[in-house]
């Protein structure tokens, strides 16, 4: 298939049109091919195609502030396939950028998508990485995003994972971050599973510098026979380091949810908190919506819709 047609179909599967504005940088990767690419000043992308995927190096040069979010679209349109993506991202000192990454496998019956990301955010740099997934209704895929993130002094990073459409299938997210002095990290994931979906999320942040801050948020809903296992680890090792873990999992029907918060503090002036709520929806929330005339099912759906929505205010 022609690249242009592949690009169109990738965007179509996420309910969007192709990016046409010259001010918006974008990169499209289908399977192991880079099918589209448009860059803006200060953004460098080198990509190498491999047998079953792509290796890329993304760089935002020192002090560059990219106004419009960069669009990256990964995907496999056929029912079967393997896509292994290795990405190294460097935000140089004082750079600022946001990436809106869409990962789309709309027809997957037997698809494997692996992501091995290494992200270095330089001193005072700011980076936002939003990852939105579209999966097939059958959930015939395994998604394995792993990332290692390094925040230098005064850097900021916010990442957010959301499944927009389709079934999870099997998902194994593992993010590990190191947060230097004065740097701020926000990681969140919002996923709902059903059928025989399997969700495993492991987020870890090491607060190694003074006044380093991190908030790890995980909101999950499982129903039917879906299972979710969430492990959040926060380690505070320096003075005035602050961290918070927030995990909410709503379980319906035969769903299963598990949360393991691990907090470690190695400095008397550090402070870490965690909050986990697992099980049925909150009775007061439910009763309030029922008192608006919604039946229990509709009220529960609305509460979960909120929980999984991306509108959450930043807590830092």
């Amino acid at each position: 298939m022609e690249s242009a047609e592949l690009i169109r179909r990738l965007y179509e599967s996420i309910g969007e049109a192709c990016v046409t504005s010259p001010d918006i940088a974008h990169v499209e990767i289908h399977g192991n091919r880079v099918v589209g690419r448009h860059l803006v000043p200060g953004l460098k992308v080198e990509a190498e195609e491999a047998e079953d995927g792509v290796s890329a190096h993304i760089r935002v040069t020192r002090g560059t502030q990219i106004a419009e979010p960069v669009r990256i679209c990964f995907g496999i349109l056929p029912e079967q396939g393997i896509q292994r993506v290795r990405i190294r991202t460097d935000l140089e000192e004082g750079a600022r950028a946001a990436v809106m990454a869409s990962c789309t496998f709309p027809n997957a019956v037997d698809v494997l998508h692996e992501m091995e990301a290494e992200t270095n955010i330089g001193p005072g740099a700011e980076y936002v990485y939003l990852e939105r997934h579209v999966h097939s209704p059958a959930g015939g895929l395994r998604v394995v995003p792993h990332a290692r993130i390094d925040l230098a002094e005064g850097a900021r990073f916010r990442t957010d994972f959301e499944l927009l459409k389709g079934r999870v299938g099997q998902m194994e997210i593992r993010y590990r971050a190191t947060v230097a002095a004065g740097a701020v990290l926000e990681m969140s994931a919002r996923v709902s599973g059903r059928g025989d979906d399997r969700i495993a999320i492991e987020e870890q942040a090491d607060l190694v510098g003074e006044r380093a801050r991190a908030v790890l948020t995980t909101n999950i809903a499982v129903r039917e026979k879906a299972r979710a296992e969430v492990k959040n680890v926060l380690r505070a090792k320096a003075a005035y380091a602050r961290g918070h873990i927030d995990c909410k999992e709503i379980v319906r029907e035969q769903g299963y949810a598990e949360a393991i918060p691990v907090v470690e503090v190695e400095h008397p002036q550090a402070h870490v908190t965690h909050e986990a709520a697992i099980g049925s929806v909150d009775a007061k929330q439910l009763e309030t919506l029922m008192a608006r005339g919604l039946d229990e099912e509709a009220a529960t759906d609305l509460i979960i819709e909120g929980l999984l929505s991306p509108t959450h205010p930043s807590s830092t």
């Binding site: 007061k284 309030t288 919506l289 919604l294 909120g306 509108t311 959450h312």
Partner: protein, 249 residues
């Protein structure tokens, strides 16, 4: 009791944690009128509202609750809501991620953008600033109460219970809430205000004073104001349901 009432409570007895919270309480509410229920902390006012709405802990009770001459005792919360009964909680719930737009729109009779905006304006909130915010901990208590009231107005109910509508509300917004109450009355909606405040009490046509889950007095607002102000309070009992309750039985 008169069958012209829209809601009638017949000898309600409700026990929680082994204590009698509502003690043989009978009340009638007239359609299109504003009623106030006053009483000290722990008197059972919020319990009364929860019982009428059919909330979980408050469903098992003696006596009967009749709405338009029909027992609603066995009805679920949403069934009662669909009959037109609405409750604004003393402490409204918070929701993660759920926007004001979705929340107010959830049970709205008219969920168009224009209608939702009008509902927020009715409670003195700027729709541009609030519609896309989440009904979560970033809203103040007073803001949440006003959003809750907006959602109830949007429901276009027939009977509205407002549990302490003034708590956490500033003077200006309270004026708007009183306007909303007047409008409800003009539209023929029955209102039940639960309050400690004389100003809120003054919005009502009739009032009830309850204490220890029992009716102590009922009648005109003037009468209850006097009774509440001069004979009931200060009151040194602990508002435990005992026989030495200060009031006429």
């Amino acid at each position: 009791m008169s069958s012209d009432s829209i809601l009638e409570l017949q000898e309600i007895i409700l026990e929680l944690g082994g204590r009698r919270i509502l003690d043989c309480l009978s009340m009638a509410f007239w359609p299109g009128h504003v009623h106030a229920v006053v009483g000290p902390n722990g008197a059972g006012k919020s319990t009364l509202a929860s019982m009428i709405m059919g909330l979980g802990d408050y469903r098992a009770h003696g006596g009967d609750v009749r709405f338009e001459d029909r027992s609603i005792k066995e009805l679920s919360i949403d069934q009662r809501a669909r009959l037109g009964i609405a409750l604004a909680w003393q402490e409204p719930a918070r929701y993660e991620g759920l926007t004001v737009r979705r929340f107010v729109g959830a049970g709205a009779a008219d969920a168009t953008e224009a209608a939702l905006r009008r509902r927020l304006e009715q409670v003195a909130l700027d729709p541009d600033r609030y519609l896309d915010r989440a009904v979560d901990r970033t809203l103040s208590g007073g803001e949440r109460k006003r959003i809750e009231l907006a959602s109830i107005l949007a429901q276009e109910p027939r009977l509205v219970m407002m549990d302490e509508p003034d708590s956490g509300i500033d003077v200006e917004a309270l004026g708007r809430i009183f306007d909303a109450i007047r409008l409800l009355r003009e539209e023929g909606v029955t209102v039940l205000l639960i309050t400690h405040s004389q100003t809120v009490l003054e919005q009502a046509d009739h009032a009830f004073l309850i204490c220890c889950g029992r009716m102590v007095a009922k009648g005109s607002v003037a009468k209850i104001k006097e009774f509440y102000g001069e004979r009931c309070l200060p009151c040194d009992h602990q508002n435990a349901p005992r026989e030495d309750c200060n009031g006429e039985r």
